[in-house]
């Protein structure tokens, strides 16, 4: 058992996957010699050689598009998009090909590929470095979208994504890359994609969050529990396909529902989750479901970023409104 942060867990997942299977190869901008701008691929080129871990050209469509060709021809590419805000030149390849190749050929060709990308704000970055774009993938049939919130989950979910027979968008909350450490087993393990995790159980309110917002929500819950409330926290883990069952069962028990996310509010993931609750637990509800989300502005540069994402104080106050409704 080693004590790792989320970034080190991501690195270990790729390292162990490459050791297990020589079809796994890693590439992207600066991932080779430098080990990636965040060092997620540190040491992999040294250990597995330049053919298995290489610096791509500076072109996201090439990274995704060539990865599709490799996957069709028997490899398991794990590619890095340096920041999720840079994925747009590669978005065409993701949506028009990676997601559709299995269906277009009725199973003749498949794309078992992982597209990793750090996402989200809170690191005082430049423009296009702080977006939360999970719905752009979750709305596309043929893709799976996974977001870990802890080092333990990051390793198990990434190893599962690499073994998955379909393309997986693996979004890494960069704000918590180095925020905390956790015991992570040395041996290889996987966590099933498509299953949410009940982080802590409670009876008065169900809150769903993922990525960096899990930690913020936990802090908010600690506050509210001192006031005597009992809150159930679910880490969604997989944005698509959604684990509706876990959410509905929880809301049937608690009668109240909130979703906390870093993505912008309108047409955001919260809308889908609240609909899920309305369809599956409407008659159990004792308060209107609520979404606590970022505002519908352009993501501000660092001096204005504090206005954008909900902070612990806002989460506490909005959760309390639902509890007291």
């Amino acid at each position: 058992m080693a004590v790792l942060n989320l970034l080190e867990a991501v690195n270990q997942a790729m390292d162990q996957s490459m050791a297990q299977d020589d079809k796994v190869i890693v590439f992207g901008e600066d991932v080779g010699v430098e080990g990636g701008v965040f060092r997620a691929t540190k040491g992999l080129q040294e250990k597995y050689g330049i053919e298995r871990c290489f610096d791509s050209i500076l072109a996201e469509s090439s990274i995704v598009g060539s990865g599709i060709g490799m996957a069709i021809n028997g490899l398991k590419p794990v590619v890095e998009i340096q920041f999720s805000g840079f994925m747009f030149p590669g978005y065409n390849q993701i949506v028009t090909h990676a997601a559709r190749m299995r269906n277009r050929t009725r199973g003749r060709y498949t794309v078992p590929m992982v597209i990793r990308m750090p996402y989200g704000g809170g690191v005082r970055a430049l423009e296009h470095h702080s977006e939360s774009l999970e719905v752009l993938f979750a709305h596309t049939a043929g893709l799976k979208v996974v977001i870990p919130s802890t080092p333990y989950d990051a390793k198990g979910l990434l190893m599962a994504a690499i073994q998955d027979p379909d393309p997986v968008i693996f979004m890494e909350p960069k704000r918590i890359y180095r925020a905390f450490k956790q015991d992570v087993p040395d041996e290889a393990y996987t966590i099933p994609i498509g299953k949410a995790k009940i982080v802590k159980s409670g009876t008065d309110l169900t809150v769903v969050a993922w990525g960096a917002m899990v930690r913020e929500t936990q802090k908010a819950i600690e506050h509210l529990e001192k006031e005597g409330f009992s809150i159930e926290l679910i880490d969604l883990r997989t944005i698509s396909p959604i684990d509706k069952e876990t959410i509905i069962q929880s809301v049937q028990k608690t009668g109240r529902f909130c979703v906390v996310h870093e993505a912008a509010q309108t047409y955001g993931p919260g809308a889908e989750l609240i609909t899920t609750v309305n369809e599956g637990a409407f008659l159990y509800l004792e308060a209107p479901p609520k979404r606590i989300a970022s505002v519908d502005t352009i993501v501000p540069l660092p001096k204005g970023e504090q206005y954008y994402v909900p902070d612990v104080g806002q989460i506490v106050s909005e959760l309390r409104d639902v509890l007291k409704f």
Binding site: S61, S66, A71, N73, G142
Partner: protein, 361 residues
């Protein structure tokens, strides 16, 4: 050898057979026996029969939108005939000649254009990617196919087809750039058919030739008479050998002309004169090769009419079979989104199934 002999900057174009089917450069004549020559001809001719009959079916309202290959038969058949059995092809959407040469069945091809994805489920031994509609995007896949082949040590190469319009796309640049930086075993074939739907080649690039773009990537490029099947074969074979020997990618510009409409939804009389089309009819790839084969004693007018009649019947039979194949099963649209249906897809499937059963549809 050929790549060295022709300079794309000087607008030089390799031709072996002229428009009258005369051997103008016997020194470059590829080493092909009579049987192989006749094979090339029959595939080209078959492709044209399919196009002509399919256009008839389309006009009769029996076919959906179709993109004919008329006039580009030599560019496609000549190039794809130079590949090994296990080599990969990433086509665009107008590569009927390539599909036929790679062993795709007409039934699969018709099924696809008839609106059923099952048509693109080709047998395992046919290493052709499916029809790719987003222009030039498939070129990136060819680089990945080539990277994987080299990584696995299989000695297979990957060929991508794109049109002159496609060379304006970023994917064209990225694919050539990545392939050249990595010395990948790729061949890129531009079918310069002079049009992107209605937009002329001159509005896609100021460059005198498309082949000269290769120079910027540090790789060889060449312009070939795309209506000369022997020149297409000879040049592609050299490119394939180079790639297989680890000498990296090449760019081939097949200079040709789209004789038909972009698709059956297009009306080319809006943007080009009949006289222009007629001038290209004189350079027809099939007519010139037939003249050559007849002169060489490998083909005859009797063989021609026998072949056309037999293949026309065959096309009719296959089309009628596909026409009767019915619709797509409901489960087909759900079963290939992921390896396994997700719970949400399962629920949606059950709901649709119940509805269609109740309605008796």
């Amino acid at each position: 050898m050929l790549f060295k002999a022709f300079n794309p900057l000087l607008d030089e174009m390799i031709q072996i057979l002229n428009k009258d089917g005369e051997l103008v450069h016997p020194e470059w004549l590829p080493d092909l026996g009579p049987e192989a020559l006749v094979d090339l001809y029959e595939t080209m001719r078959f492709s044209r029969i399919i196009d002509e009959k399919t256009l008839q079916y389309q006009r009769q309202g029996r076919m959906l939108t179709y993109a004919p290959n008329l006039g580009q038969e030599a560019a496609q058949v000549g190039s794809s005939a130079a590949l090994g059995a296990n080599d990969w092809v990433a086509p665009s959407f107008r590569e009927l000649g390539v599909w036929l040469n790679r062993g795709a069945s007409l039934e699969h091809i018709f099924l696809y254009w008839f609106g059923n994805e099952m048509g693109m489920r080709m047998p395992e031994d046919i290493r052709v990617l499916p029809v790719s509609v987003p222009i030039a995007s498939q070129m990136q896949h060819a680089t990945g196919l080539a990277y994987a082949s080299r990584y696995k040590g299989t000695n297979e190469i990957a060929v991508a087809y794109v049109g002159d319009g496609g060379t304006s796309q970023g994917d064209f640049h990225e694919a050539l750039n990545f392939a050249s930086v990595q010395d990948l075993p790729n061949v890129f074939i531009i079918q310069n058919n002079q049009f992107a739907i209605s937009t002329r080649r001159q509005l896609q690039t100021k460059a005198k030739t498309i082949a000269q773009k290769a120079i910027g990537y540090g790789i060889p490029g060449i312009v070939v008479d795309g209506n000369d099947v022997l020149a297409m074969y000879a040049v592609t074979r050299e490119a394939v050998e180079r790639a297989r020997n680890g000498e990296g990618p090449t760019l081939i510009e097949a200079y040709t002309y789209r004789m038909g409409a972009h698709t059956t939804s297009d009306d080319p009389t809006v943007y080009r004169d009949d006289s222009e089309v007629e001038s290209w009819r004189e350079k027809d790839p099939i007519d010139r090769f037939r003249k050559f084969l007849i002169r060489e004693g490998h083909w005859s007018d009797e063989k021609e009419s026998e072949f056309v009649s037999e293949r026309s019947d065959y096309v009719k039979t296959v089309f009628e079979k596909v026409e009767k194949s019915g619709g797509v099963d409901l489960k087909d649209i759900f079963d290939y989104v992921y390896e396994k249906r997700t719970p949400i897809l399962e629920a949606q499937y059950q709901k649709k199934k119940a509805y269609f059963q109740k309605e008796g549809k």
